[in-house]
Symmetry: D3
Subunit: 154 residues, 6 copies
């Protein structure tokens, strides 16, 4: 049976933190599905298309990474894709408390497990929210997002 994992998020944008995590997880799974959540009631800062292109370009040399969009519950996507694991990164204790609740509620509902890696030291400070705030104020986000010029503001 092949080991399949889903890495869910809104990735607005997909930072160096996300990028490094996927690379570290890549050897553990036969396939990793990066699943970009689309919620019709939410406004995104960067266009969906540019986010998808951006993520795909980062992993074009890796065979076992797939980038898709989804709506609805993450656990339903996992069932559909026959993924046995969700994968996430942990930056700090605020992340920890939130991720613990989500992981336990997902497990209660469907039995799916969530695996964690500690975010690397050099990227642990990067938050998509702050990256957007910097971009809005005309700052340079290239320290936090690889090939950030591929992203187009909505």
């Amino acid at each position: 049976m092949s080991r399949i994992a889903v890495f869910p998020g809104s990735f607005d944008p997909f930072t160096k933190g996300h990028e490094l995590l996927v690379k570290r997880y890549a050897s553990l799974f036969d396939k990793i599905i990066i699943a970009v959540g689309v919620n019709s009631t939410k406004q995104y800062f960067f266009t969906l298309e540019s986010r998808l292109n951006h993520i795909r370009s980062l992993f074009k040399s890796l065979d076992n990474i797939e980038v898709i969009t989804y709506s609805g519950l993450t656990v339903d996507l996992c069932k559909e894709k026959k993924a046995q694991y969700l994968i996430r990164g942990l930056r700090n204790t605020t992340d920890f408390e939130f991720e613990k609740s989500i992981a336990q509620m997902n497990k209660t509902m469907t039995g799916i497990e969530t695996l964690f890696l500690m975010t690397d030291a050099e990227t642990a400070a990067i938050h998509s929210t702050i990256v957007r705030e910097i971009k809005k104020n005309g700052g340079d986000i290239s320290s936090f997002v690889t090939n950030s010029d591929q992203l187009i503001i909505s």
Copy 2:
């Protein structure tokens, strides 16, 4: 003098976590008032009426539980109801930091004390916010809310 406590919240919805807390507090107080906050500038996911009916149905076998609505400051409600205590649950450190600030500001303003119980392990992961998110996406929330079919979406 009778010991009266107020358990305030928006309870949108009232989860198994809230339910278990009230049951554990019930023997400590002569009366517990479950106070559903109503804020005219806020949108709620479930209708107020269905939330009230739902909570009342959960405690119909307990004599000393009253369910009311209120607006304005929680400490003003306590004075009006001659309640000496606010009661709350603590799930994790994020809760802890927020509840500590609220409790200390309430005490500074009016001298009212806030008592805490640690949320039980089996319900500590439940957050109303996540429960609403699951419901919005068509998921089943019956693991997290007793008699969840009594709740009506606004």
Copy 3:
């Protein structure tokens, strides 16, 4: 049925933080038992006798406070004393995580509940460990312990 609570600790020494907590809890219970744990394999900084005298002197004007020593499991003491509650203070998130584990293990073993108050702002920084360290180095601990001259170093 009278409401009885146990406040357990080594109280080496009993600080202003402990003192204020007991005073805040005093009106909630018919009796509070301050239980000084005695562990034959542990070394204490202040003599047991002086710690007991010190605590008793602080509460001599309160009728419903009893000060005792105990060894063995705290939950066994509660059963013996017919206490339904353990009471504790929470200073910070480190306390929180430790106290949560103890409270849940005590509840699993015997069903006994632990109630919490947030430590008051002005005493939340006080740790018995640091107080002892200050005393060892010849510092003045009177800001942290009422009537600290009653305490005798072992």
Copy 4:
């Protein structure tokens, strides 16, 4: 070279917590610039003019405190003002995790350092968000904000 620090925030309102922090930092720097951020897409509870007047009145006896408004990135303001330091307070672990990320991202972008003091015990519970909530509900905020009658609701 003179030591210049920027204390940035929306200060909606400027609480006793902020006030005490600036007073404690005042002797360390030749000049402290209190920089009130103005974001055109954000709604503020108190008018900008009343917030500026309020803050200036609190420090009129201190020579080295300047109060200004700014928009855009905080690090750009620092460069413009030749400030080598950002200064902030830390109330609790939630603050800590957020401030750590901001401080590290600011340092990565521009090398600017952020210094921290622990908020004093008596003001650590004060959050501008809760102060606004109290005011909205007709409560008295004078325990949390000096000369709070100078503030005018937008």
Copy 5:
């Protein structure tokens, strides 16, 4: 290439928390090595032999679990055993901060990755230290350790 993980610890004793973690990790790896650390300068509460027998008995129905002892650095053991991963559980934020440091230092030294699962709700309160304390004081630890009667006090 087979996926091999090491689960290191002193396991004094191996609790239901540890047991459940290994079972949840078992399907992700081709082999899991439970590595009981032996440090000649440390005193253990239960005998090494009884701890080993106890752990082995818990997993006798699982083919891919090996139980060994080791001394020295955990990362050296991983290299010797050709294990690419360390696996751990996270109960709370205190665990999180400690495990994050260890994981990052291990990665800096040897490149080895540490994977985490959130400890299940029903076992997250269990700490080996508290279990030993209960046992020392004559309490019943069978709620926290499966087949606890196999363990022999040193």
Copy 6:
């Protein structure tokens, strides 16, 4: 008046984390005193002499860094040295809670202030305790301590 700060610790050993902190603080103060605490009842892993030589060698190009030993209370040393500030680094929330208590107790006793910088990302995982553990087990600590070969085991 010159600005003098004390950086206290046992520095067993003085890691790259400590080193980077002092360099970042150096431009803020006229003098920084690195104060190596000596406690006659404590056992240190590296000899005091080698620790002092090691620290001095790291800062020999900086004029305003002094390295001394001290015993007794840190606040007494500050008074003696006319230092107005203690300086520390914050790695994580466990550090935060501990340092907050110490800082507030020091301020209560003597009015002395403690300033904090967030430890840099690349050194935030380094703990002296773990470094000693690695050295004891024959590991290489040169990633965590500059010129670590100058240190001599006691």
